[in-house]
Symmetry: C2
Subunit: 212 residues, 2 copies
């Protein structure tokens, strides 16, 4: 006998198990749960997947996920239209939105430069970022990429590209344009004792004035 | 702004998050993975779910999952047709099959008696089990239910029902019919020191002759 008593069951298990981080036991549990669910619930599940893949679009300006041509953040008149926060992916937009601390626009790169994975500057949305700066009259670009070698490389690459764009070096010097990066330091709630040395070192170098 | 940048995304996340043990972060990761997958892969996923729920059937005899009217185990001429192993659910059939130690038939109850969850004997496949014994000329019923209070209750209930069925008490006495239950004891590879007292106690009471 086969491991699974039914081909249909096996197919469904294979589908769930193809998701990253889902093993065959978990996949089987999901499938048996769906088998016990009402038929229309399972149909709704299947439909949500099909619709998702067919109809979800990416914002023409910032490349965030959206149902429209331009996403609600880019369209909102209440958002600061002069600041762009550059992030790696869509989850990062959600994470920053959840903090409630940022009110500008975004630019989703869709990846970061990583020679190991053969991802170069042309494979991610860097050209489209540069294309936005002048016409949208951006005043600040915030680099919010991962604190990894790849993130740092991408940060540096974007910085150089902006510097080398006509007029931007001057504008930066005159303080009319700013490139910043998110603060790195000891996470809130963490003990110094358990913070790695590089992070702790940076948090001292980049110390800020104390305000009570 | 909403937590999710797109209704379609949110719908798909909700569907995954409705599976037991899947949180919203994991659900989002699954959805974003599918968004990056080829469209036909996602369609195949959706189709597998729809087909699963619509076409999977339960074996008319043993209630195991199958694509046919009667499952391959029940139909197989190479299996011992005189022994039925009673299990709680479909996973248990797979687990026992994977041991390679059993060659008889199965009977899937689809649950166990549990007054707390208001599951009574009529809610699970006990009547259909009793209906199989005489016409199929069964010689042994192996009770392979969970080692819990509910499992023990169900074991006892089935035992009494068979005893009270015409002629079965006599046949049991004459050794023509047997009701057994799976052995409980110290798991293979476990230290006695870390085995709970009830299990260890049972393993002494139910000791078997040593064979080298």
């Amino acid at each position: 006998m086969n491991e699974y008593p039914s081909i249909l069951l096996e197919n469904a298990v294979n589908q769930f198990a193809s998701l990253p981080g889902v093993g065959r036991k978990t996949a089987l549990r999901h499938v048996l749960y769906l088998l016990r669910s009402p038929e229309q619930d399972v149909e709704r599940f299947a439909e949500a997947l099909t619709k998702l893949r067919k109809e979800v679009r990416y914002c023409r300006r910032c490349h965030n996920i959206t149902d429209q041509d331009v996403c609600p953040i880019c369209q909102s008149p209440r958002r600061d239209q002069k600041t762009i926060c550059v992030v790696e992916n869509v989850q990062d937009v959600m994470s920053i939105e959840n903090t409630g601390q940022y009110n500008g626009l975004y630019h989703v790169l869709g990846g970061i430069i990583s020679p190991m994975d053969s991802i170069g500057p042309k494979d991610i949305e860097i050209d489209s970022l540069l294309a936005r700066l002048e016409p949208e009259q951006i005043r600040e670009v915030i680099l919010a990429l991962p604190t990894t070698m790849e993130g740092d490389t991408t940060n540096f690459y974007i910085y150089r590209r902006i510097q080398n764009t006509d007029g931007f070096a001057d504008r930066i010097q005159r303080g009319e344009f700013k490139i910043s990066q998110i603060a790195r330091g000891v996470a809130v709630g963490n003990e110094l004792e358990y913070t790695d040395e590089i992070t702790l070192g940076r948090s001292i170098v980049n110390r800020i004035e104390f305000t009570a």
